[in-house]
Symmetry: C2
Protein backbone atom coordinates (compact mmCIF):
# COMPACT_ATOMS: atom_id res chain seq x y z
CA UNK A 1 0.00 0.00 0.00
CA UNK A 2 1.10 3.59 -0.51
CA UNK A 3 2.52 5.57 2.37
CA UNK A 4 -0.15 6.73 4.78
CA UNK A 5 -0.46 8.80 7.93
CA UNK A 6 -3.55 7.10 9.21
CA UNK A 7 -4.28 3.78 10.86
CA UNK A 8 -5.38 0.94 8.62
CA UNK A 9 -9.16 0.41 8.49
CA UNK A 10 -10.48 -2.92 9.72
CA UNK A 11 -12.02 -5.52 7.45
CA UNK A 12 -15.67 -5.84 8.46
CA UNK A 13 -16.96 -9.40 8.86
CA UNK A 14 -20.09 -10.53 7.02
CA UNK A 15 -22.26 -12.30 9.56
CA UNK A 16 -25.72 -12.62 7.98
CA UNK A 17 -27.53 -11.80 4.76
CA UNK A 18 -31.17 -11.59 3.72
CA UNK A 19 -32.83 -10.77 0.40
CA UNK A 20 -35.11 -7.73 0.61
CA UNK A 21 -36.21 -7.62 -3.04
CA UNK A 22 -35.65 -9.66 -6.18
CA UNK A 23 -35.95 -7.99 -9.59
CA UNK A 24 -35.18 -9.14 -13.12
CA UNK A 25 -31.87 -7.31 -13.08
CA UNK A 26 -30.63 -7.45 -9.48
CA UNK A 27 -31.35 -8.71 -5.98
CA UNK A 28 -31.25 -6.26 -3.08
CA UNK A 29 -29.72 -7.79 0.05
CA UNK A 30 -29.52 -6.54 3.60
CA UNK A 31 -26.23 -7.82 4.99
CA UNK A 32 -25.14 -7.67 8.61
CA UNK A 33 -21.49 -6.64 8.98
CA UNK A 34 -19.53 -6.76 12.23
CA UNK A 35 -16.55 -4.52 13.00
CA UNK A 36 -14.03 -6.72 14.86
CA UNK A 37 -12.23 -3.83 16.60
CA UNK A 38 -15.21 -1.68 17.49
CA UNK A 39 -17.18 -4.75 18.45
CA UNK A 40 -20.27 -3.34 16.81
CA UNK A 41 -22.16 -4.06 13.63
CA UNK A 42 -25.26 -3.35 11.59
CA UNK A 43 -27.03 -4.05 8.31
CA UNK A 44 -25.81 -2.62 5.01
CA UNK A 45 -27.63 -2.71 1.67
CA UNK A 46 -25.98 -4.39 -1.30
CA UNK A 47 -27.29 -4.90 -4.84
CA UNK A 48 -26.26 -8.19 -6.40
CA UNK A 49 -26.37 -8.29 -10.18
CA UNK A 50 -24.52 -10.35 -12.79
CA UNK A 51 -21.39 -8.71 -14.16
CA UNK A 52 -21.92 -6.26 -17.00
CA UNK A 53 -19.91 -5.76 -20.20
CA UNK A 54 -19.48 -2.59 -22.29
CA UNK A 55 -17.85 -2.53 -25.70
CA UNK A 56 -15.71 0.03 -27.51
CA UNK A 57 -16.33 -1.00 -31.14
CA UNK A 58 -14.24 0.71 -33.83
CA UNK A 59 -14.92 0.50 -37.58
CA UNK A 60 -12.11 0.17 -40.15
CA UNK A 61 -12.35 3.97 -40.49
CA UNK A 62 -11.74 4.21 -36.72
CA UNK A 63 -15.22 5.46 -35.95
CA UNK A 64 -16.87 4.33 -32.72
CA UNK A 65 -20.19 2.48 -32.68
CA UNK A 66 -22.57 4.28 -30.30
CA UNK A 67 -26.09 3.46 -29.19
CA UNK A 68 -28.77 5.94 -28.21
CA UNK A 69 -31.75 4.72 -26.23
CA UNK A 70 -34.33 5.75 -23.66
CA UNK A 71 -33.11 5.02 -20.14
CA UNK A 72 -35.67 4.55 -17.39
CA UNK A 73 -33.31 5.49 -14.55
CA UNK A 74 -32.89 9.05 -15.80
CA UNK A 75 -36.25 9.09 -17.63
CA UNK A 76 -34.48 10.38 -20.73
CA UNK A 77 -32.30 9.35 -23.66
CA UNK A 78 -28.64 8.42 -23.24
CA UNK A 79 -25.79 8.04 -25.73
CA UNK A 80 -23.63 5.06 -24.75
CA UNK A 81 -21.43 2.31 -26.10
CA UNK A 82 -23.06 -1.09 -26.64
CA UNK A 83 -23.23 -3.37 -23.64
CA UNK A 84 -25.32 -5.54 -21.45
CA UNK A 85 -25.46 -8.24 -18.82
CA UNK A 86 -23.26 -11.34 -18.79
CA UNK A 87 -25.25 -14.50 -19.48
CA UNK A 88 -23.68 -16.44 -16.60
CA UNK A 89 -20.87 -15.95 -14.06
CA UNK A 90 -18.39 -18.06 -16.03
CA UNK A 91 -19.03 -16.36 -19.38
CA UNK A 92 -15.95 -14.97 -21.11
CA UNK A 93 -16.15 -11.17 -21.02
CA UNK A 94 -14.86 -10.71 -24.56
CA UNK A 95 -17.35 -13.24 -25.91
CA UNK A 96 -20.14 -11.54 -23.98
CA UNK A 97 -19.10 -8.16 -25.36
CA UNK A 98 -19.14 -9.46 -28.93
CA UNK A 99 -22.59 -10.98 -28.30
CA UNK A 100 -24.00 -7.74 -26.91
CA UNK A 101 -22.43 -5.73 -29.76
CA UNK A 102 -24.06 -8.06 -32.29
CA UNK A 103 -27.45 -8.10 -30.56
CA UNK A 104 -27.70 -4.34 -30.01
CA UNK A 105 -26.17 -3.08 -33.25
CA UNK A 106 -25.66 -5.93 -35.73
CA UNK A 107 -21.92 -5.17 -35.76
CA UNK A 108 -19.13 -7.74 -35.52
CA UNK A 109 -15.39 -7.15 -35.52
CA UNK A 110 -11.90 -8.54 -34.95
CA UNK A 111 -9.02 -8.42 -32.49
CA UNK A 112 -11.42 -8.22 -29.54
CA UNK A 113 -9.68 -7.84 -26.19
CA UNK A 114 -10.27 -6.70 -22.62
CA UNK A 115 -9.53 -3.03 -21.84
CA UNK A 116 -10.09 -3.55 -18.14
CA UNK A 117 -12.57 -4.25 -15.35
CA UNK A 118 -14.22 -1.75 -13.04
CA UNK A 119 -16.65 -1.78 -10.13
CA UNK A 120 -19.84 0.17 -10.97
CA UNK A 121 -20.26 1.01 -7.28
CA UNK A 122 -18.07 -0.68 -4.62
CA UNK A 123 -20.21 0.80 -1.83
CA UNK A 124 -23.57 -0.73 -2.76
CA UNK A 125 -23.05 -3.07 -5.75
CA UNK A 126 -21.12 -6.34 -5.76
CA UNK A 127 -20.69 -6.74 -9.50
CA UNK A 128 -18.05 -5.68 -12.01
CA UNK A 129 -18.26 -4.20 -15.49
CA UNK A 130 -15.87 -5.61 -18.08
CA UNK A 131 -14.74 -3.17 -20.77
CA UNK A 132 -13.92 -4.66 -24.16
CA UNK A 133 -12.28 -3.21 -27.29
CA UNK A 134 -13.15 -4.56 -30.76
CA UNK A 135 -11.61 -3.35 -34.02
CA UNK A 136 -12.52 -3.63 -37.71
CA UNK A 137 -16.21 -3.62 -36.85
CA UNK A 138 -18.75 -3.88 -39.66
CA UNK A 139 -22.51 -4.27 -39.68
CA UNK A 140 -23.13 -7.87 -40.69
CA UNK A 141 -26.78 -8.20 -39.69
CA UNK A 142 -29.73 -6.37 -38.24
CA UNK A 143 -29.89 -5.98 -34.48
CA UNK A 144 -31.65 -8.55 -32.29
CA UNK A 145 -33.13 -6.45 -29.52
CA UNK A 146 -34.60 -7.65 -26.26
CA UNK A 147 -38.34 -7.08 -25.87
CA UNK A 148 -37.91 -3.64 -24.32
CA UNK A 149 -34.92 -2.45 -26.35
CA UNK A 150 -35.20 0.20 -29.04
CA UNK A 151 -31.78 1.42 -30.03
CA UNK A 152 -30.48 4.04 -32.44
CA UNK A 153 -27.03 3.11 -33.72
CA UNK A 154 -24.66 5.96 -34.46
CA UNK A 155 -21.05 6.26 -35.61
CA UNK A 156 -18.76 9.03 -34.40
CA UNK A 157 -15.05 9.71 -34.57
CA UNK A 158 -13.09 8.88 -31.43
CA UNK A 159 -12.22 12.55 -31.06
CA UNK A 160 -15.92 13.44 -31.21
CA UNK A 161 -16.70 10.86 -28.52
CA UNK A 162 -14.07 12.28 -26.14
CA UNK A 163 -15.44 15.77 -26.83
CA UNK A 164 -18.98 14.60 -26.00
CA UNK A 165 -17.66 13.11 -22.76
CA UNK A 166 -15.98 16.39 -21.78
CA UNK A 167 -19.01 18.48 -22.67
CA UNK A 168 -21.63 16.33 -20.93
CA UNK A 169 -23.32 14.88 -24.01
CA UNK A 170 -22.16 11.43 -22.87
CA UNK A 171 -22.77 11.01 -19.13
CA UNK A 172 -22.91 7.26 -18.40
CA UNK A 173 -20.19 6.58 -15.84
CA UNK A 174 -19.23 3.19 -17.30
CA UNK A 175 -18.93 4.62 -20.82
CA UNK A 176 -16.60 7.31 -19.48
CA UNK A 177 -14.58 4.56 -17.75
CA UNK A 178 -14.13 2.83 -21.11
CA UNK A 179 -12.87 6.09 -22.61
CA UNK A 180 -10.33 6.50 -19.80
CA UNK A 181 -8.97 2.98 -20.33
CA UNK A 182 -9.10 3.38 -24.12
CA UNK A 183 -7.06 6.61 -24.12
CA UNK A 184 -3.51 5.14 -23.96
CA UNK A 185 -4.49 2.32 -26.35
CA UNK A 186 -6.03 4.78 -28.81
CA UNK A 187 -2.96 7.01 -28.64
CA UNK A 188 -0.77 4.05 -29.57
CA UNK A 189 -3.15 2.95 -32.34
CA UNK A 190 -3.16 6.44 -33.83
CA UNK A 191 0.64 6.70 -33.74
CA UNK A 192 1.21 3.26 -35.26
CA UNK A 193 -1.51 3.45 -37.89
CA UNK A 194 -3.14 6.83 -38.51
CA UNK A 195 -6.80 6.69 -39.58
CA UNK A 196 -7.23 6.70 -43.40
CA UNK A 197 -7.67 10.13 -44.93
CA UNK A 198 -10.96 9.19 -46.57
CA UNK A 199 -13.68 6.74 -45.62
CA UNK A 200 -13.92 3.53 -47.67
Amino acid sequence: MPASFDHTPSRWEKRAEQTLTRTRIFDLHSTYYYHPVRGTGRDFYVMHSPDWVNVVALTPERRMVLVRQFRFGIDDFSIEIPGGVMDHPGEDAVAAGLRELREETGYAGANARLLGRVHPNPAIMSNRCHLVLVEQCKRIAGPAWDADEEIEVTLASVDEVYEWARTGRITHSLVLDALLLLAPVWEKMRQQDPPPAHVN
Copy 2:
Protein backbone atom coordinates in the same frame (compact mmCIF):
# COMPACT_ATOMS: atom_id res chain seq x y z
CA MET B 1 -28.16 14.45 -32.95
CA PRO B 2 -25.34 12.77 -34.86
CA ALA B 3 -26.03 11.11 -38.21
CA SER B 4 -27.80 7.79 -37.84
CA PHE B 5 -29.04 4.97 -40.01
CA ASP B 6 -31.73 3.84 -37.61
CA HIS B 7 -35.15 5.11 -36.66
CA THR B 8 -35.35 7.33 -33.60
CA PRO B 9 -36.40 5.49 -30.41
CA SER B 10 -39.62 6.58 -28.74
CA ARG B 11 -39.75 8.37 -25.41
CA TRP B 12 -41.48 6.03 -22.99
CA GLU B 13 -44.20 7.62 -20.82
CA LYS B 14 -44.11 7.25 -17.04
CA ARG B 15 -47.62 6.24 -15.99
CA ALA B 16 -47.34 4.99 -12.39
CA GLU B 17 -44.74 4.55 -9.68
CA GLN B 18 -44.58 2.64 -6.41
CA THR B 19 -41.90 2.32 -3.76
CA LEU B 20 -40.73 -1.26 -3.25
CA THR B 21 -38.10 -0.61 -0.59
CA ARG B 22 -36.76 2.35 1.35
CA THR B 23 -33.19 2.28 2.69
CA ARG B 24 -31.00 4.88 4.33
CA ILE B 25 -29.22 5.56 1.04
CA PHE B 26 -31.81 5.04 -1.69
CA ASP B 27 -35.42 4.16 -2.44
CA LEU B 28 -36.19 1.39 -4.91
CA HIS B 29 -39.17 2.19 -7.11
CA SER B 30 -41.13 0.09 -9.54
CA THR B 31 -42.27 2.43 -12.31
CA TYR B 32 -44.74 1.60 -15.04
CA TYR B 33 -43.62 2.92 -18.45
CA TYR B 34 -45.79 2.95 -21.56
CA HIS B 35 -44.40 2.84 -25.11
CA PRO B 36 -46.61 5.19 -27.16
CA VAL B 37 -45.86 3.56 -30.52
CA ARG B 38 -45.90 -0.08 -29.49
CA GLY B 39 -48.90 0.57 -27.28
CA THR B 40 -47.45 -1.67 -24.61
CA GLY B 41 -45.82 -1.07 -21.25
CA ARG B 42 -44.50 -2.66 -18.10
CA ASP B 43 -42.76 -1.98 -14.81
CA PHE B 44 -39.10 -1.00 -14.61
CA TYR B 45 -36.96 -0.76 -11.46
CA VAL B 46 -35.30 2.54 -10.61
CA MET B 47 -33.16 3.45 -7.61
CA HIS B 48 -33.69 6.98 -6.35
CA SER B 49 -30.84 8.44 -4.31
CA PRO B 50 -29.68 12.00 -3.62
CA ASP B 51 -26.97 13.23 -5.97
CA TRP B 52 -23.42 12.25 -5.05
CA VAL B 53 -20.22 14.31 -5.17
CA ASN B 54 -16.61 13.13 -5.65
CA VAL B 55 -13.59 15.36 -5.19
CA VAL B 56 -10.21 15.51 -6.90
CA ALA B 57 -8.15 17.23 -4.19
CA LEU B 58 -4.60 18.29 -5.08
CA THR B 59 -1.96 19.46 -2.58
CA PRO B 60 0.44 22.35 -3.31
CA GLU B 61 2.90 19.64 -4.40
CA ARG B 62 0.26 18.42 -6.88
CA ARG B 63 -0.33 15.15 -5.04
CA MET B 64 -3.86 13.75 -4.98
CA VAL B 65 -5.70 13.06 -1.73
CA LEU B 66 -6.98 9.47 -1.79
CA VAL B 67 -9.09 7.53 0.67
CA ARG B 68 -8.95 3.79 1.31
CA GLN B 69 -11.85 2.13 3.08
CA PHE B 70 -13.76 -1.12 3.36
CA ARG B 71 -16.66 -1.20 0.92
CA PHE B 72 -19.63 -3.44 1.67
CA GLY B 73 -20.74 -3.78 -1.96
CA ILE B 74 -17.56 -5.57 -3.00
CA ASP B 75 -16.86 -6.92 0.53
CA ASP B 76 -13.32 -5.59 0.22
CA PHE B 77 -11.19 -2.44 0.43
CA SER B 78 -11.29 0.23 -2.25
CA ILE B 79 -8.97 3.15 -3.05
CA GLU B 80 -11.04 6.16 -4.09
CA ILE B 81 -11.16 9.94 -4.06
CA PRO B 82 -13.13 11.57 -1.22
CA GLY B 83 -16.84 11.96 -1.76
CA GLY B 84 -20.29 11.41 -0.43
CA VAL B 85 -23.95 12.25 -0.63
CA MET B 86 -25.35 15.73 -1.17
CA ASP B 87 -27.14 17.04 1.91
CA HIS B 88 -30.19 18.26 -0.01
CA PRO B 89 -31.25 18.64 -3.67
CA GLY B 90 -30.45 22.35 -3.77
CA GLU B 91 -26.99 22.03 -2.24
CA ASP B 92 -24.14 23.54 -4.25
CA ALA B 93 -22.01 20.70 -5.61
CA VAL B 94 -18.70 22.48 -4.99
CA ALA B 95 -19.70 23.30 -1.39
CA ALA B 96 -20.79 19.70 -0.88
CA GLY B 97 -17.49 18.47 -2.26
CA LEU B 98 -15.50 20.70 0.08
CA ARG B 99 -17.62 19.47 3.00
CA GLU B 100 -17.08 15.83 2.16
CA LEU B 101 -13.35 16.42 1.65
CA ARG B 102 -13.11 18.06 5.06
CA GLU B 103 -15.20 15.41 6.81
CA GLU B 104 -13.47 12.39 5.31
CA THR B 105 -9.86 13.63 5.29
CA GLY B 106 -9.54 16.89 7.24
CA TYR B 107 -8.26 18.60 4.08
CA ALA B 108 -9.37 21.99 2.78
CA GLY B 109 -8.22 23.82 -0.34
CA ALA B 110 -8.73 26.65 -2.80
CA ASN B 111 -9.96 27.35 -6.34
CA ALA B 112 -12.63 24.67 -6.05
CA ARG B 113 -14.61 24.17 -9.25
CA LEU B 114 -16.82 21.65 -11.03
CA LEU B 115 -15.08 19.21 -13.40
CA GLY B 116 -18.38 17.84 -14.66
CA ARG B 117 -21.48 15.81 -13.88
CA VAL B 118 -22.13 12.17 -14.74
CA HIS B 119 -24.91 9.62 -14.32
CA PRO B 120 -23.80 6.67 -12.16
CA ASN B 121 -26.22 4.42 -14.04
CA PRO B 122 -28.83 5.91 -16.42
CA ALA B 123 -30.56 2.53 -16.75
CA ILE B 124 -31.47 1.95 -13.11
CA MET B 125 -30.44 5.05 -11.12
CA SER B 126 -31.97 8.51 -11.36
CA ASN B 127 -29.23 10.47 -9.63
CA ARG B 128 -26.11 12.26 -10.81
CA CYS B 129 -22.57 12.41 -9.45
CA HIS B 130 -20.89 15.83 -9.43
CA LEU B 131 -17.11 15.79 -9.87
CA VAL B 132 -15.21 18.62 -8.20
CA LEU B 133 -11.58 19.76 -8.43
CA VAL B 134 -9.88 21.49 -5.48
CA GLU B 135 -6.30 22.81 -5.47
CA GLN B 136 -3.81 23.86 -2.78
CA CYS B 137 -5.27 21.32 -0.36
CA LYS B 138 -3.77 21.06 3.11
CA ARG B 139 -4.81 19.10 6.18
CA ILE B 140 -6.29 21.66 8.54
CA ALA B 141 -8.07 19.33 10.98
CA GLY B 142 -8.72 15.73 11.83
CA PRO B 143 -11.45 13.93 9.89
CA ALA B 144 -15.05 13.88 11.12
CA TRP B 145 -16.25 10.46 10.05
CA ASP B 146 -19.81 9.21 10.00
CA ALA B 147 -20.59 6.43 12.47
CA ASP B 148 -19.63 3.66 10.04
CA GLU B 149 -16.73 5.37 8.31
CA GLU B 150 -13.12 4.34 8.88
CA ILE B 151 -10.89 5.90 6.30
CA GLU B 152 -7.18 5.73 5.51
CA VAL B 153 -6.00 8.92 3.85
CA THR B 154 -3.21 8.61 1.30
CA LEU B 155 -1.38 11.00 -1.01
CA ALA B 156 -0.18 9.94 -4.46
CA SER B 157 1.17 11.74 -7.50
CA VAL B 158 -1.34 12.30 -10.30
CA ASP B 159 0.77 10.09 -12.56
CA GLU B 160 0.60 7.30 -9.95
CA VAL B 161 -3.18 7.64 -9.74
CA TYR B 162 -3.59 7.31 -13.52
CA GLU B 163 -1.27 4.30 -13.44
CA TRP B 164 -3.37 2.70 -10.68
CA ALA B 165 -6.49 3.30 -12.78
CA ARG B 166 -4.92 1.63 -15.81
CA THR B 167 -3.64 -1.34 -13.81
CA GLY B 168 -6.83 -2.04 -11.86
CA ARG B 169 -5.69 -0.86 -8.45
CA ILE B 170 -8.38 1.84 -8.60
CA THR B 171 -11.65 0.34 -9.87
CA HIS B 172 -14.49 2.63 -8.70
CA SER B 173 -16.28 3.77 -11.86
CA LEU B 174 -16.96 7.29 -10.57
CA VAL B 175 -13.32 7.79 -9.56
CA LEU B 176 -12.26 6.79 -13.06
CA ASP B 177 -14.80 9.27 -14.46
CA ALA B 178 -13.15 12.03 -12.45
CA LEU B 179 -9.76 11.05 -13.88
CA LEU B 180 -11.14 11.21 -17.44
CA LEU B 181 -12.54 14.71 -16.89
CA LEU B 182 -9.42 15.80 -15.01
CA ALA B 183 -7.04 14.74 -17.82
CA PRO B 184 -7.28 17.82 -20.07
CA VAL B 185 -7.32 20.14 -17.04
CA TRP B 186 -4.29 18.42 -15.52
CA GLU B 187 -2.41 18.61 -18.83
CA LYS B 188 -2.99 22.36 -18.92
CA MET B 189 -2.04 22.78 -15.27
CA ARG B 190 1.20 20.89 -15.82
CA GLN B 191 2.11 22.94 -18.90
CA GLN B 192 1.34 26.28 -17.26
CA ASP B 193 2.89 25.52 -13.88
CA PRO B 194 5.06 22.40 -13.58
CA PRO B 195 5.02 20.73 -10.16
CA PRO B 196 7.86 21.91 -7.87
CA ALA B 197 11.03 19.84 -8.08
CA HIS B 198 11.01 19.12 -4.36
CA VAL B 199 8.22 18.89 -1.82
CA ASN B 200 7.87 21.84 0.58
